[in-house]
Amino acid sequence: MTDDQKKEQPPILVARDQWSIPVSSVQRTLADGIKAFVTRIRQSTWLEDSPAQDAEKLKPLSKRRLARWTPPPEWNRELAGFADAIDSWQQRWADTQPVSFLVAPPFTGVQTSLETLCRDRGWKLIEPPESYSIHRAEDAQKWWSQFEGDTPWVLPELAHCWLRTPTGLRLIRRLLGAAASGELGKGIVGSSSWTWKYWSHLMPELRFAVLTPQAYDHARLGQWFRDLSQYQSQTEVHFRLTTNGSWVVTPLDDAHKNGSNKRAQKVSTFLRDLASWSRGIPEVAWAVWRDSLRTEPEDDLDEAVLQDGSDCEGDRASEKPKAVVNGYQHGWVIPWSQVSLPSLPPGESRPLAFLLHSLLLHGGLDNERLEITTGLSADDVGICLHSLRRAELVTSHARGWFVTPKGYPAIRRYLLSEGFMVDGF
């Protein structure tokens, strides 16, 4: 990467007040608002039993091609820039705030990056406390002992250190107090933006300097999707809109040239819409991006050739797919208006809202903790989770259950309209 290209790279982490959400056009905002309004009015049922009719000629990508073109995000690839940003932040606040706070919306990969950074640097990784340690101060001694010593420490997720119950607030309250007074030494705390927002209401006197990952705008999303498509595939993929062929991701050769040299074809607003809808959260955008990709029939044949080749390693495997022309392949993207997104039930449903809110506040919970934090019975929790899972709004998670990346924007919007506290990102 040249120096110029490095300069062009957007900042990975920024101060909270420098964070900005990708903006959409006025037309798109209006269209989305009207679409949401009409959908809500016309929605007679939620979770219909009949399968969706796919009338499109183009089919979704095969699993194999999805894995090649849109592999899961590897947050460690940006670790160097991430670590540099944290180092300079720690230097800046070393005198007044030995503990750095990194607040991020879900699906930004901050927890993974912090854990990797911690391992790379040989720092202490603070494990989340057990339930009994959260509720009883006298049982938390073992957890507090992790902070002893002079080695810097990393607490990757603050959301896992509390429960929204009258006795579940003590640990974080003590932790924040100790961090403010400098008792804990040098460390880094990662926090879900939902947890942080809740605690900033509970403790309005909290005034820590906070670092946050910058939202992905359309340009950064395009660059990221292009890079992802090339990690496992040597062939460059040209992503274009199915309806008019306009560019969705500008090809690499054009991306590095000046605007005057750009190809004559139009550039689609798909990525702008995606960046705005996903609120610049990379994994949310990635989840929708995967579902938006389509393939042509001949691509299926090529895929079969590759599949056969990988199975028998015969001569056919060396054949180049027909769709590869001049060293690149076409990936087709459906228009934003055709993207299918999860929805929530019409009208209000307090149990569903409580469940979703609790999952976001705690960065995922199991059934037992969901009962405690929402006040719902075990049966109600089970029934709600079943409905939400069918609607692709929640999925099983390392800590039990969590919202899906694709469902996150709809859930956030739903909670906001229902009057619940939402994060500031």
Binding site: L202, G375, F420, M421
Partner: protein, 268 residues
């Protein structure tokens, strides 16, 4: 009346004009019925602010339709000269003044409510001891539905003479209060802090609104008032119940005794 020119004005009305006016009124009536049926139906699919905005559009649209019909009908029935208008509206005012005084009073108050907005659909109001949510605002009266699901019709004329208490005043923020009566022998600062946590940990609480605990000493003990906002005004009773349940559990854990007033003979 004839001196006012009313007879001349009415003589000029043709049967065709009456039919046209009747059709216009019927169409307007259908429109109003449609608005009153469809918009609340749409509103029921939303909650929070969108619901309130849609409900608030009902009386406004009705007023617009009524004014539109009047503007259209008057030229159809009468030649809109100054004399004719004075004659007709003067006679109308007299008739309303004597025969339908209270009705006209409420009609005018209904128009006043549209711009003064002492209550809007979705507001929780108390008028003459009746507390409930404003479900609709009609031309003459507003209908509130009490927590026990009883519809109470409140003539707009009450606006002139009664005190109207509005809990949320067009917003989604309605403060609720849960009260706890405790034996005076306890750590008041600790109880105050724990009750605040009780409100913050209720899933019904709108945490971005203030949560306040106030206490006052009484002859029989200490009264704590836990004030907070539910996520939606309609949740207020569930919210207060939840705060009370959680609060009692916490107080029990703290071994703080709640006090009860002795029941006197004859008290209900």
């Amino acid at each position: 009346m004839g001196d006012l020119g009313l007879k001349d004005a009415l003589d000029a009305i043709t049967s065709g004009a009456i039919v046209d006016a009747a059709i216009l009124i019927a169409v307007a009536w259908l429109f109003i019925l449609g608005v009153q049926k469809i918009l609340p139906g749409i509103a029921s699919r939303f909650s929070g602010k969108p619901r309130l905005y849609i409900l608030a559009a009902v009386p406004l649209l009705r007023l617009v339709i009524i004014l539109g019909v009047i503007i259209l009908i008057v030229p159809i029935l009468l030649e809109p000269t100054f004399e004719n208008l004075v004659a007709v509206f003067g006679a109308l005012a007299l008739a309303l003044g004597f025969a339908f005084k209270d009705y006209a009073n409420s009609l005018i108050a209904g128009i006043v409510t549209l711009y003064e907005m002492p209550y809007r659909p979705g507001d929780w109001i108390e008028v003459d001891g009746q507390y409930g949510e404003v479900r609709s605002i009609g031309t003459r009266a507003a209908v509130i539905v009490t927590p026990d699901d009883t519809a109470v019709v409140i003539p707009h004329g009450k606006l002139w003479s009664s005190l109207i208490a509005n809990g949320n005043d067009g917003t989604g923020n309605l403060m609720c209060v849960a009260e706890f009566y405790l034996d005076p022998e306890h750590d008041a600062a600790e109880v105050k802090a724990r009750l605040r946590d009780v409100a913050f940990t209720s899933p019904w609480t709108k945490t971005y609104q203030p949560v306040i605990v106030v206490l006052s000493e009484r002859p029989w003990g200490t009264c704590y008032r836990l004030k907070a906002y539910p996520v939606d005004p309609r949740d207020q009773f569930q919210f207060i119940s939840d705060l009370t349940i959680r609060g009692k559990a916490v107080l029990r854990q703290m071994n703080v005794r709640q006090v009860t007033a002795p029941v006197m003979a004859g008290e209900t």
